[in-house]
Subunit: 454 residues, 2 copies
């Protein structure tokens, strides 16, 4: 079986919709539940409310939980609102606690409180514990549904324990070992467990070189670690090494996607990539704040140029090269920025040191500046037949590129030092700074050598 | 144990270097091999060549293979060149075949051929088979070191088989089941295996709803699938459903990182994010091609403006707003581009349909255009006290934003339709197109209403 392509999903959708409309419960259940929950969720989202209400009647809270875990967190609110509250709270109880918390973080506090009240004590407590942790930390993405083993257990005993616990645990491929005080002391993979002798103790079979993360650690750093170390799971501990939960690789893949979209969006100056169900108004609302800020920043550039109205009146041709010089400064600054932001995100820059990086960027700016400066000097000379104009534009571009490259890498490094996410220093801001600097250089030099130009 | 921070790695590095310099083999081995291969690789890369040569003497090919799997593919070439060729080919033989192939794709064809000649027949064949597949397809990222089970085996027998094969297999957590013709017929997780009765056959215990990918499938789509479906492994098949290899989640995390960096770099117009060991010349060489193309595109803008020299001579103040209008068109185009590129990358756009997306973007452009146009109209009127200039700039920005938004989303959609990676339509190209369009609109309107302005 290939996974469902557009056509197959459409066919499945048609069949399922028909069964629902005709009230054929068994047929609906057979068709719907044979699909992967990811595809179930895609079809579920396309149905109208009356049919969704039928589904709530025909599937169990556990089956619905699987579907809800595959709906985008930001789209899920209306579905929980339209469900019968008792059914909704049962669905939450059946979900992985980390996924349930991700969704609850999107809901009204009142609604969350009422769901938690109806829910069974134990399930509610698990979710409440997780709701405390700050977003984007280890605590917020970990699950508390894991199996742990005691160091003193026998391997045989441990296997039996895993067999019983397997259905409720997020993973049993890596199991963490704790001492009497619930402190993390080791890790054993299922792979090692099945090749160990049944009568060994876990302490003998496990590895005591277990890597853990603190509950407050940033999710992006955790993603880096899991990728670098090829982990399938990672235990989360408090400051006394008590095991609090585990993070599994499937959650980390979502984190990687989220962080990549985030960096990408900021480089493009959108606060958030539009969701699939956004209409034009929602999209415009997300983009307008940036555009309005940029409009004011752009007015700064305009007002700077207006200071040189006199020069423009004398040599109107100066205006021709404004977008070229500002544009090149913007482009090169964005390049330097992107290198710095990715370098910080992947941890490369921490390894090689910031001073070395700054020095390299300055030299890179020098090289690219000289090359581009010489090229444009030639172009302008040939095109306009004016040697001094060529020199002026060439030197302006050279200086602008050097300054812009340094600015592009310096700003994110400073922000990282100040513990601000460097991606916030998004492309357009760097571009505006570089616009201003490059225009200042250009008109500054034009004023100084005005007598050569007229 | 936390993973190594900068300080701890520095300490380990000092100790290891000292042991190497003093020829204390046992002490070096103890200190080096206790580290995670990821950290081994980081320290290894920092050592000078004479010390690396010592390491090649003191560790086994298998231990070196672990280190090499954690060195960046693009940095690995000098190490294999400086090794004794026999040792190097032993290291390749010990690596996961998929990782070995990734590295060989970076080496000279001559070198690869000579390594393969020295290597044992069987290992060489495995690598040769994989070298055929095109880069960035399932074939190029899959491994052939997997365990498969026959449908007729008993569970007990299968467990014994896994125990023997575990050390050489990439994963045993998901095992694929084949029929007599090596065709894929099912999948069984180790989890299901340990809770099944020993005397059942695999056919009874397995799931026959196994998702597979074709060997030519694009790696980005595979990453989407594994993330959506929460898979830890995925089988790769040919067109007749023969099992060829498996793809594991750790390779997919590298793919996700690579694709995210790729999209990000293209938005910023760098061909490749600089590697950690790049010097200024290498960085400049990577950025200059883009900058030079953009320089010529920028000259187009300049030459377009020069067509309006007459208008500029009459109303020099017109020049003031050129960067603002071009900049806003560039910004809004980049926003639309980013939304489209991310939407294609995550598969969202395929779900909602391209026509709907285009319509939404056009409406979004209209809304943002009207809002920004009105704001700038006010600013210009208050600042310059010239009503017509305000209207001119306002209407220009409004039209530019609408056109730029449509262009920003239309171009990547067209490229996707033509099977070109839409990320190639990088920010600066869209920006240049939008520069040209917006300047044309601005000066076109200025020419038409010149008598109102002077």
């Amino acid at each position: 079986m290939e996974h469902l392509d557009e056509q197959e999903r459409q066919n499945a959708w048609n069949e399922i919709e028909e069964s629902l409309r005709n009230g054929k419960i068994d047929q609906f259940r057979a068709e719907f539940l044979e699909l992967h929950p990811y595809d179930q969720a895609r079809i579920f989202e396309e149905l109208e409310e009356s049919l969704r209400q039928e589904i709530y009647m025909y599937v169990s809270p556990e089956e619905m939980a699987d579907v809800m875990e595959h709906v985008d967190d930001e789209e899920v609110e209306p579905y929980f609102s339209e469900m019968d509250p008792r059914f909704a709270s049962d669905v939450f109880a059946e979900m992985s606690s980390d996924d349930a918390v991700d969704i609850m973080n999107q809901l009204d506090k009142d609604k969350v409180a009422s769901f938690l009240t109806i829910m069974e004590q134990e399930d509610a407590q698990e979710i409440k514990d997780l709701l405390h942790y700050e977003e984007k930390t280890a605590g917020s993405i970990m699950t508390t549904e894991y199996v742990s083993l005691k160091a003193s257990m026998k391997v045989q005993e441990a296997m039996n324990h895993l067999r019983t616990e397997a259905p409720d645990a997020e993973t049993i491929y890596y199991t963490y070992v704790v001492d009497e005080d619930k402190r993390l002391v080791g890790v054993i993979s299922l792979r090692d467990l099945i090749i160990s002798e049944p009568e060994w103790t876990i302490e003998e079979a496990m590895s005591d070189r277990v890597v853990s993360v603190s509950v407050a650690k940033d999710q992006e750093e955790i993603a880096q670690m899991m990728r670098d170390y090829d982990f399938l799971a990672l235990p989360v501990v408090d400051f006394q090494d008590h095991l609090l939960g585990i993070i599994t690789v499937d959650d980390i893949m979502d984190v990687m996607d989220e962080e990549a979209s985030d960096d990408y969006s900021k480089l493009a100056a959108i606060s958030d990539v539009d969701g699939p169900n956004d209409n034009a108004f929602t999209s415009a609302k997300k983009r307008l704040p940036w555009l309005i800020i940029l409009l004011f920043l752009g007015s700064l550039t305009a007002s700077l140029i207006s200071q040189f109205e006199e020069q423009l009146n004398q040599v109107a041709i100066l205006a021709i090269f404004i977008p070229l010089i500002a544009g090149m400064a913007g482009n090169t600054g964005t390049q330097a920025l992107a290198v710095a932001v990715r370098g910080i995100a992947t941890g490369e820059i921490r390894k090689q040191g910031k001073v070395r990086m700054m020095f390299r960027e300055a030299s890179t700016g020098l090289i690219t500046g000289v090359v581009c400066g010489l090229i444009i000097m030639g172009i302008v000379y040939v095109w306009q037949g004016n040697f001094f104009l060529g020199v002026l534009v060439g030197i302006s571009i050279m200086s602008a590129l050097i300054v812009a490259t340094i600015a592009g890498s310096f700003v994110p490094l400073i922000m990282d030092r100040l513990n601000i996410d460097p991606a916030v220093a998004s492309g357009p801001f760097i571009t505006t700074i570089n616009d201003l600097i490059s225009i200042l250089i250009y008109f500054g030099m034009a004023s100084a050598f005005m007598n050569l130009l007229v």
